[in-house]
């Protein structure tokens, strides 16, 4: 429990009256620093937050229900739209869950490209986080530099998949298509220049007294509380708990990569900031290793009933054409069963639960979104702090409302 809440009056029923010293205000849903359409009901005593209640659901689109009406392969495009800053991570969680049900073996090259793209996406997601977090706290220019770096990554993603925000690049059983020619050269340009950008961010923020004063000892959550609230990802690691699914429960071959898991023990906004800043370097390390490991090979699993055939084969071979027709028109049957597959998304543990009754459409798809769970700990962190610190705390847990409301 944070120290600062101890001196506050005990919570009591709020009656809004002018004579009352407490005041209820509504922050959001159009507040720019709530990172989307999040509404917070804040009970304030002067400038301190007595009570904070998140109000969500403004972006609810019924995505999980929608999965039940779409064939398995069509579900991939829905996942893009949940956490729209980390669409490739969402793609991965979903396709891996379905692949688990099908028992598919994914070729080496596809796995490496998946790791590469997911880590690029993690950097892009952290770029948006850093830019907006700094913007909330009052550092305007960082935002431009962050979006410039993100633009470079989005160009790479666009070159590979054709989409910038909604790539849908991963398919059940592999990838949509192989990386384009010249991708590695462009990737190298990015990886060579990115460390300079990180230096710029460090100069602008990490060594900046103003930024430190705004973030240190703010929004404290102890390791025990962090675990109890179910925090995952950088928000948990900022409380000194070294849990990363890429290490704890490796998938797509993360066990073969050499990277560190940054952990900071101050439990405040500042240490969550440091964790993410250090993760940028680690992700870059993984990207470089993956790029060095790319060997020519197939990017689609050998499963003619599930994976679309190559276009050349489809035009020349009758059986490939028949499979193509069947997969597109009817979908493919997935064996009965239920699976849960967690991955380490940029914001924490993103788990995908898929239940199949057989047949080409899932019976139920559910996502354990990190933003949703991390947001639930916001009142715990924000109560007792100043109202101006609430925006810093929201920034530090890095939420995306598209994923919370789904």
């Amino acid at each position: 429990m944070s120290v600062s809440t101890q001196n506050l009056p005990p919570q009591f029923e709020v009656v809004d009256s002018p004579l009352d010293s407490q005041m209820t205000i509504s922050m959001g849903p159009q507040h720019p620093s709530t990172h989307g359409v999040l509404r917070l009901e804040l009970v304030l005593d002067g400038e301190s937050v007595v009570k904070c209640t998140p109000d969500i659901g403004y972006l609810h689109t019924g995505m999980e229900k929608l999965f039940e009406y779409k064939k398995y392969q069509q579900g991939i495009v829905i996942t893009d739209r949940m956490d729209y800053l980390n669409p490739l991570g969402n793609n991965l969680a979903y396709v891996m869950a379905v692949e688990k049900l099908l028992g598919l073996e994914i070729p080496e090259r596809a796995q490496t490209i998946r790791v590469l793209m997911c880590e690029l996406q993690r950097i892009a997601s952290h770029m948006v986080w850093l830019g907006t977090h700094a913007l909330d706290i009052g550092a305007m220019t960082v935002f431009f530099y962050c979006f410039r770096e993100r633009e470079k990554i989005l160009n790479l993603i666009e070159a590979a998949s054709g989409g910038r925000l909604t790539p849908s690049y991963f398919r059940i059983g592999g990838l949509m298509m192989d990386l384009p020619a010249g991708f590695e050269r462009r990737l190298k340009q990015f990886t060579d220049n990115f460390p300079d950008a990180v230096d710029t961010f460090n100069t602008l923020l990490t060594g900046n007294t103003i930024f430190q004063k705004r973030t240190q000892n703010v929004g404290i959550i102890s390791p025990e509380d962090a675990i109890d609230w179910g925090l995952t990802g950088p928000s948990l690691r900022g409380s000194g708990v070294a849990l990363d699914i890429r290490r704890a429960n490796p998938y797509t071959g993360y066990e073969n990569y050499d990277f560190e898991i940054p952990v900071e023990g101050d439990c405040d906004v500042w240490s969550r900031y440091l964790v993410r800043m250090r993760e940028l370097g680690e992700s870059l390390k993984i990207v470089k290793q993956a790029a060095a490991r790319l060997k020519p090979g197939s990017v689609k699993a050998d499963a003619p009933k599930v994976v679309l055939p190559d276009r050349e084969a489809m035009k020349t071979h009758m059986d490939a054409l028949i499979h193509h027709f069947l997969i597109v028109a009817e979908g493919f049957d997935v064996p009965k069963g239920e699976v849960y597959h967690p991955i380490e998304a940029s914001k924490g543990e993103l788990g995908c639960y898929v239940k199949s009754d057989g047949g080409p459409k899932p019976a139920r798809v559910h996502f354990r979104g990190p933003s949703f769970v991390n947001l639930s700990a916001l009142p715990h962190m924000a109560e007792g702090e100043m109202v101006a610190d609430v925006v810093a705390i929201i920034g530090s847990i890095d939420i995306v409302l598209g994923e919370i409301d789904r």
Partner: protein, 173 residues
Amino acid sequence: MSIISDIIDSTKAIIKGMSITLAQIPKEKWTVQYPDDPVTLQPRYRGQHLLHVDELGREKCVACFLCAAACPSDCIYIIADDDPRPEEERIGVDERYAKIYNIDYGRCIFCGYCVEACPKDAITHGYNFELSVYTRADLLKTKDDLLITKQKQSPNYRVAFSDEDVDSEYKEI
């Protein structure tokens, strides 16, 4: 004392920040002055669809409905018809062709599934991305807007083709 050191530290931080900002001025610009300057798109970019024709100008689509079946947002509407005329005079390459082929851009999510599904390479993604219109009904594009011979290409983009970047598998324009 601490106030004075705070002020000194903050001033230092601001000066450092300003020096970085000012150092950006001579550097390469990433902002594109759209629409005065064209936007650069990657070869695989998924823009407004194009319906292709063969060398004789006949539509490649054979109205097999695969694209409509693949579409996750159900936005393709096709009515198939038979064209009994001799081969050279036909509208399409095959006897069967799409009399009506509509894509509702109010629903399309530019996922590329239709392109992946088409066995005849009759539909691909073009690069037009300026799709805003004043009324919803105008978002429904018919063959008149989609056919490669009729679609007007916007001057506001250029495609990042280089000898090695051409992805001939999907893009034919």
